[in-house]
Amino acid sequence: MNGIIGAVLFLILAPIVGGLIAGIDRKITARMQGRVGPPILQPFYDVGKLFEKENVVVTTAQNFYVLAYLVFIALSGALFFAGGDLLLIVFAFTLAHVFLVLGAYAVHSPYSHIGAERELIQLMAYEPMVILAAVGLYMVANSFYVADMVATTVPVILYLPGVFLGFVTILTIKLRKSPFDISTSHHAHQEIVKGITTEFSGSTLGQVEIAHWYENVFLLGFLYLFFAWNPVIGVIAVAITYLAEIFVDNVTARARWQAALKSGWLVAGVLGLVNLAILSYMMTGGV
């Protein structure tokens, strides 16, 4: 029952929270750059305006894939907040992204094609670390269910510092921040040709934005699992991490896809695996 409430709350509140986070993000980014920045509600105005635009497409099929992307992102987030099986959620999340990529392929346009390829490379870059993070959380909580992970009384972060750092690194990819915002970027001067979303416009682009809000809330929820033993510390830690992401976004230039792939795999291999290896050594008492 709790699960269903969590899912429903997520489906209703996540777009609001996600939009607010996006607004605050833009404000802080502006301040870091010495600008005033848009009002915090600006993301809502932007998306609202997108829904009033004329429905223009290259091919009708693109709308279908984007809708599927939105639906499955929302579904994986809802499953997460319902306390479901984390591995299953990770795979549902991947499915959602494959839909976005297929949407970009379907329009058969050079810019979105490149964007789609890059999005896939990013997916390949972050996936190992996400799976390892799920496995690490399992090893501490002894269950793949998010509900059990939240209920844990152990300070997970102390057991999984490496996994956490690795996850934060690939979070840069997921939040579409520099240096890994390769397939699409949210900076104004690059928005004209925006990789994977080049051919999406109007309400379709609005759906991509909303999906991204859902996604960000889900990801911050994932981050929270590392601190779940103490809600206050948890919320603060998530906020600080997000601030750090904004900072990194502002001080780095875009990396090439090779660098993104290598960093993603390296953090998974070095930080993630070593951490898990030590943990399993400690837990099994020497095996």
Binding site: V58, F64, A104, H108, S109, Y111, A116, L132, L273
Partner: protein, 634 residues
Amino acid sequence: MQTLLFLILFPILVACLLLFVKRTTLRYAVVALSALVIGGASIYLLMRYAFEGAVYFTAPSEAASLAMVAIEMGLALFIVYMGAKFRNYLAIALAVVQAALVVYLETTFSGNLHAVNNLFIDQFSIIMALIIGLIGSLIAVYAVRYMETYHHHHPEVRDRQTMFFFVTFAFLAAMFGLVFSNNLMWVFFFWEVTTISSFLLIGYSETEEATKNAFRALVMNLLGGVAFVVALIFLASTEATSGGIDLARVLASGDAAVILVPAVLIGFAGITKAALMPFSSWLLGAMVAPTPVSALLHSSTMVKAGVYILVRFSPVFAGTFAGFSIGLVGAVTFVVASAIAISQSNAKLVLAYSTIANLGLIAACAGVGNYMLVWAAILLIVFHAVAKSLLFLGTGAIEHRLGSRDIEDMEGLIVRMPKMAVMMFIGIAGMFLAPFGMLISKWAAIEAFVQVPFGLVFIAILAYGSAVTVFFWAKWMGKLVAVTRQAERVEKGFFEEPWAPLYIITGLVIATVLLFPVISSTLIEPYVLAIYGVTALLAQANVAIMLLMMALLLILPISFLLFRRSAKHLPAYMGGRPATPDLHFAGSLGLTREAQTRNYYLTEYFGEAKLFLPGMVVCTILILASWVLAGVAL
């Protein structure tokens, strides 16, 4: 028991009959009818024995065993003849060694070569029988028209279709025999028949390349065959403790250390047949054969025999270092083959590498072999068989229509061959997407490996491997769904493969995805329970979620209708230049230029040249390690 004997003998009968059928229409009738009979009989088998557990039969032994030895000798002579004809002395040497070992076994240990029961059936065998009986015979039906078109496209190839269909059905018979035999001598006999069948089918076109690759497959599989006989000799000489050549007794043997050596040797035979590294090159070489052969080898016969034997013996491997080592061979094969698949643009090669990868994953599960992993391995076998057969047959049909099997040339297939594109889409989705088949098994495998000592090694390999898998499948899918303007529809043609087998297999893919909880609870879970005393269970909540996702996927296409009425169409963005919908844009100097899109293949990182050799070296070392570890345990 009649059904078992029928399934083994009836295909042989059909095979002999097909030797005399020369006309395509008549051949189609015969093949389709026998496919119906074989498929029906395997479904009857399911209904008759699904709820009975393992049932053993004392099938006639003396005469049959004698005939088998005689045929084995005949086959050895055939290999010697072929080897002499094509100057492949390694094949001759292996065949002679193997024949000599068989003679030694028969003469020295004749007293120990009796199984209490020669035939048996349990849930795992039923699953295998369904794969062979339904998918194998559908491929045979598809092959009739395909081969007609094939000869139309390749006038230089000698028409040996009677031989082709004879071997195909003999192959199916051997596969049935393999999965029903409780007598390991029988298993070995059928094992060798599959080796020869694939040799003949791969070399079908008689070109120099085909002959070379056929011999490569033969040599590698004969290596496994030799290991198999050595295992039999070992078992026969330790009959009292190991249980001899009676499969059920061997698996139930109390002396785990004694049976580990033969198990590892038979596992080695499984590794060669399942084309794991370092033996994967034979399966890649087999791509020269006509596409139905590839479909047959990949989905319902040959390589499935290899993983079948590995999974059968996995209770012996479970918890041993030797088994762990075999599991690692599989895991390394999985990640290396998946990575190489990224660099391939030839559709058949992508399919081949992904088969090798999946077989690796199955072997990884079988080698480590706890109850959850065996559950996952069997589920993987099922999903791989249905999805892969669809993809191969689809690729064959596309190749005949487009004249190419390059993935780049499949761009916009959704416009050119919409039905085919949808079927390929379903097949590919079955290979890697949630909530479809393979993913369930990968998920189960991760959950299981977490609980195994040193399972972290496998988790790491799975994490990277499945990320890589997503990349190469998704970019292929992307090519299929690209909506290209002004492309011609080419679905119809003069020479047309029958679509019925394709439709049926597509239906099977969807059915397995929807029914997998049922398949799991009626067939796989009881088998695992019988072997291990515990069984893997899917959480009801997760099953519900997967069905929910499936339902969403089925409902979502309706949204197409919503978009159709209102949208206004524009050409793609081309840096602000005036453009047309078919990717032409106004370049400088008044010239119209065409933009093209090509996928990334990342050869620099994932190329065959870069990864194949290291993969082979690592796997060879691991195989040798598994022998040493088994020997140490003894």
